[in-house]
């Protein structure tokens, strides 16, 4: 049914080495492109769709017009405003090739699992010395299950520690299949109330919670809670999450207060940044949550640095 592991292909945005916030030790994190969720605080809009995209940096543009000439769809414009009319763009990337000032940049490339594995393997010395490994992230790695599975399996073969960073949203059968080659799951529980979850992410949470159980039965799980003021930081939600964690025997909770480091990516994609309306909880509230979790005997970390 599926290709041999090495030849499976998938789309990624980047591979980040010396990743220190995606699991234990020094890691190499692979960002798979494509995600079924649309969290309102998402910091990586470039990973929403699986298809290739184009970043445009107006400050680097010298208005030479080469991209306009190159575009058959007339999706590049410099009249009034320099921008890409994204609806018209066919992602042929001719404009990117023509840009000598590097104002246009391609986002997303199709690669084989072996390509990715080779990049991971290069840093073996760093994993060995720091207790690190590879992390599959995204986007949502479960969105490209065969590809994700192949990378994880190749790592396992070489005894490289694999962490799966996931929203938990995927077919349970797929989850089970991938887990066979995963050592640690970083599971995002964005909200415990299903209707609120739908409002915040576009999907309901039943499947996620069910998958969480399956994950915890099969490997080590750490639950991450994104903290956005007024949206996810209520005492009720925290308590419910704790109860859920307890029910599936997870004793380590990670808190990720909202950060806005992804804001510029919205601009580069010609989108409106959502961050004006969003805030992380105040310091005091974060501390309160940490204290609360600690008082219950739960291991707590911040920003996935552990």
């Amino acid at each position: 049914m599926t290709l041999v592991l090495e030849k499976r292909r998938g789309v990624i945005t980047t591979i980040k080495t010396f990743a220190t916030h995606d699991g234990p030790g020094i890691r190499t994190t692979v960002f798979l492109k494509g995600c079924p969720l649309r969290c309102v605080w998402c910091s990586s809009p470039e990973t929403w769709v699986k298809e290739t995209d184009i970043y445009f940096r107006p400050q680097k543009c010298m208005e030479c017009g080469k991209c306009v000439e190159a575009c058959a769809e007339k999706a590049m414009t410099m009249v009034k405003e320099r921008k890409i009319i994204r609806e018209k763009c066919s992602r042929c990337l001719k404009c990117v090739d023509k840009c000598v000032y590097r104002a246009l940049e391609r986002v997303g490339e199709t690669v084989s699992a072996m390509d990715v594995f080779r990049r991971i393997e290069e840093d073996e010395a760093f994993y060995l010395e720091s207790g690190g490994g590879a992390t599959l992230s995204g986007g949502e790695p479960l969105y490209q299950p065969d590809f994700a599975e192949a990378i994880a399996a190749l790592c396992k073969e070489k005894s490289i520690h694999v962490t799966l960073d996931t929203s938990g949203y995927g077919e349970t059968g797929i989850v089970k299949r991938i887990l066979r080659n995963v050592d640690l799951v970083l599971l995002d529980i964005k909200h415990m109330d299903s209707s609120v979850h739908r409002k915040l992410t576009g999907v309901s949470n039943e499947l996620i919670l069910r998958n969480g159980e399956v994950m915890a039965e099969n490997c080590e799980v750490i639950i991450s809670i994104p903290l956005i003021s007024g949206l996810t930081d209520s005492q009720e939600n925290i308590e419910k999450t704790v109860r859920y964690a307890d029910s599936i025997n997870v004793s380590h909770i990670d808190l990720i207060p909202l950060h806005k480091l992804g804001a510029h990516k919205y601009m580069l994609l010609g989108m409106k940044s959502p961050f004006e309306k969003l805030q992380p909880p105040p310091e005091a509230r974060i501390r309160e949550i940490v204290e609360f979790l600690l008082s219950l005997g739960i291991k707590v970390s911040l920003n996935r640095l552990f």
Binding site: K16, T17, F18, A19, T20, H21, G25, I26, T28, C64, V100, Y101, R102, E122, D123, A125, F126, L128, E129, S130, G131, G132, H259, L261, S301, L302, N303, L305, F306
Partner: protein, 825 residues
Amino acid sequence: MEELVYVRREIKGQPSTPRVKKRLKELLESEPRIDVERCVLYTEYVRKHWNEHPYVRQGGALKHVLSNMTPVIREDELIVGSISKYVRGAQLYPEQETKWMEEALKGVEREEERYVKGTKADLKDKEKTLRLGIYKLSVDDREVLERVVEFWKGKDCRSQAEKLLFQDKDYWIFDEWQKQLVFLPYMFDVPEGRVIVDYKKVIDEGLESIITKCNEKIRKLQPIDSEKKYEKYCFYKGVILALEGVLAFAENYAREAEGKARKIKDLKRRKELLEIARICRRVPRHRSESFREAVQSFWFIHCCLHIELNGRGISPGRFDQYMYRPFKEDLKKGRITMDEALELLELLRVKHSEIVRAHAKFTESYLGGSTYQNLTLGGVDEKGNPADNELSLLVLQAGINVQTPQPTLSVRWNKELSKKFKRKVVECIKAGAGYPAIFNDELGVKRLISFCRASLEDARDWAPCGCVDMQICGKRMPMYAIPHTNFPKILNLVLFNGVNPVTGKKLIETSIKAENADFNQIWGEWKELLGKILEKEVRYWNVIMSVHNGIGIVHPLCSALLSDCIEKARGCASGGCRYNDSAYVIACGGINVANSLAAIKKCVFEEKSFTIKELKRALLNDFKGYENMRKALLEAPKYGNDNDYVDRLAVEIYSVFGDIAGKLRNWLGEPWRASGLSVTSQVVLGKATMATPDGRRSFTPFADGSVSAFPGTDLNGPTALIRSSVKVKAEKMQSLLMNMKINPSAIYGDAGTDKLVGLIDAFIRLGGYHIQFNIVDSKMLRDAQKHPENYQDLMVRVAGFTARWIELGPSEQEEIIKRTEYMEL
């Protein structure tokens, strides 16, 4: 607009006592200035004793200087002794070079000074303050100095050496190379330094034992009935005089302390002063019996060396080893608390930072104002066991609490060091002052055995000296360096058939015509020219050193503390030391050459996108109108991404460099060495160099260090950069230097600390030699550029040294900001 929110440094220390705080404040508020006391006393002595043997004259002169310098004990000081009566005063050495002083007094500008714009040496002085080099000189001192300069004119080492050099018919073209920055001009004004003396001997035995030994040697020489014996006799006499000078210096401080004690009403301070007096009478004459005595003894020696030698890079070396005996004894007997010891170490940091040097404006433009006092921790003991101890931890804590540029800290890192120590090292790095730098311990030992033919025991007692060069403590000749050779400019000379495209002058004959050459010919010609240039550099420097030693610029104090000068009765620069292969040439811009060659290979010879002729036109126009070509050049493989296509070139560049140097002989018949430190030469040499085929624009800086990536071209993160860098074998080099900039958020907290420990462990396991970190958010540095007033105490790592941000020139600041920063989140 970009938000100016930056990640703050996580670890912040502060002086542990009000006393340290006061001393630090005094230091930060003081302005460096010129002091003429040393040169007046020295000249006074030499005038009267012109007919003495050089060894005796130098020993006597040092004694005269040390006995008559003004002792200054500052408010609340516990460790005393200063090289100047000013808090930060620089002494002058006219016997070495008067030319730069004359130029400064007359306001003459050197040809090469047009390249210093934007550096520390580029002074925007509205009031037209009278300056020598870059420091202030008072009007009264000016008159005194003019008389001193008048005396030395024509007699100093530079003039005497140049009398010889100018007779060489080839020298004039070589001089053009210097002025057009094919390499940085000879440092006549900073010839010596970069030495680690045997502090252990001073602390464990005291100077009196050395004096006794010399007297015995003299007795055994009797009767002195040959010239050879007379020279030996003079050597010992000189050493004795010099050591007596140090003792007189200490005695003056004892008297000064007593004098102050008599006048002071505060009983507590009076007691302190009397204790200072007691200690100054005991050490460095005798063996140190307490930690406090050892600190004072160490300091007197370190201070007096800075009066004897005019160098930068006089390094404390393995402080946590030779100070450990008295420290441990004190702890055991309950004579000192950890807090008391910490205070002494913090005060000692302030003392190190008081020392400043004055040199020619141009020299300052790339030395960055640092004195390169390198203090080393960790490593192994003589049996090979890990050597970190409680004192090592305390020195690191003092480095966190008192962030001063001096001394810079280094760690000899090996797998077996304790976890506690490694974590403390990383904590100190995270405090952000840029130290400690990390060195591969095992590699240092191995190299010193295979290249310097050191014994295992001696090799195990190595330490980085000055910036990053491997030195053997107490046994190897002070390092003499010919400053940086401009590797990218040599590539331009190849491409432009021997003509410097900046000036249009023909500087060297080439054996190929670049337009018709293939890749291997161009690459081969680069090596050829490098060889020719290095050969000239060392040939003339050997002449200079022969004059330097011959006219008697010898250093009896330094020699007394380096094995085996006393056994051999020879000065430390004349073959007296056990190991004498420490003269070196230095690379700059090697990575730009590797990137350039890769780009030429790819674009011109493989893809045939354009010709060498077209490339040259683009370079001459700084790529204006040739943006397509620049894009192609920039997209060619770049060093720092673990790509063999280009990395192999970098490896070969340094390998060839090491081999060429190793075949040349220094004035003692030992091999020259190759070194890969950068100071801030990448800024100055970059300013003198046209665009290069790697896509670098005209007159902009080169890559820093020797194995750092060119800013913005290492696109695959720090681990790939490390993998690239470890391909360059440090064994052939005396040093390599790599800078890495990491955002504080990436290594936050205890978990982050362990991750950086892991990164360093992996770096060492892979065979890297040196790595150092700036843990800083570039946005903070941007803010510091705009609001320097808020960043009085901000420190950054520049090259093999740490500097106060506000004391760097704008070009240097910009260069640091532009280095690739590894982010997280």
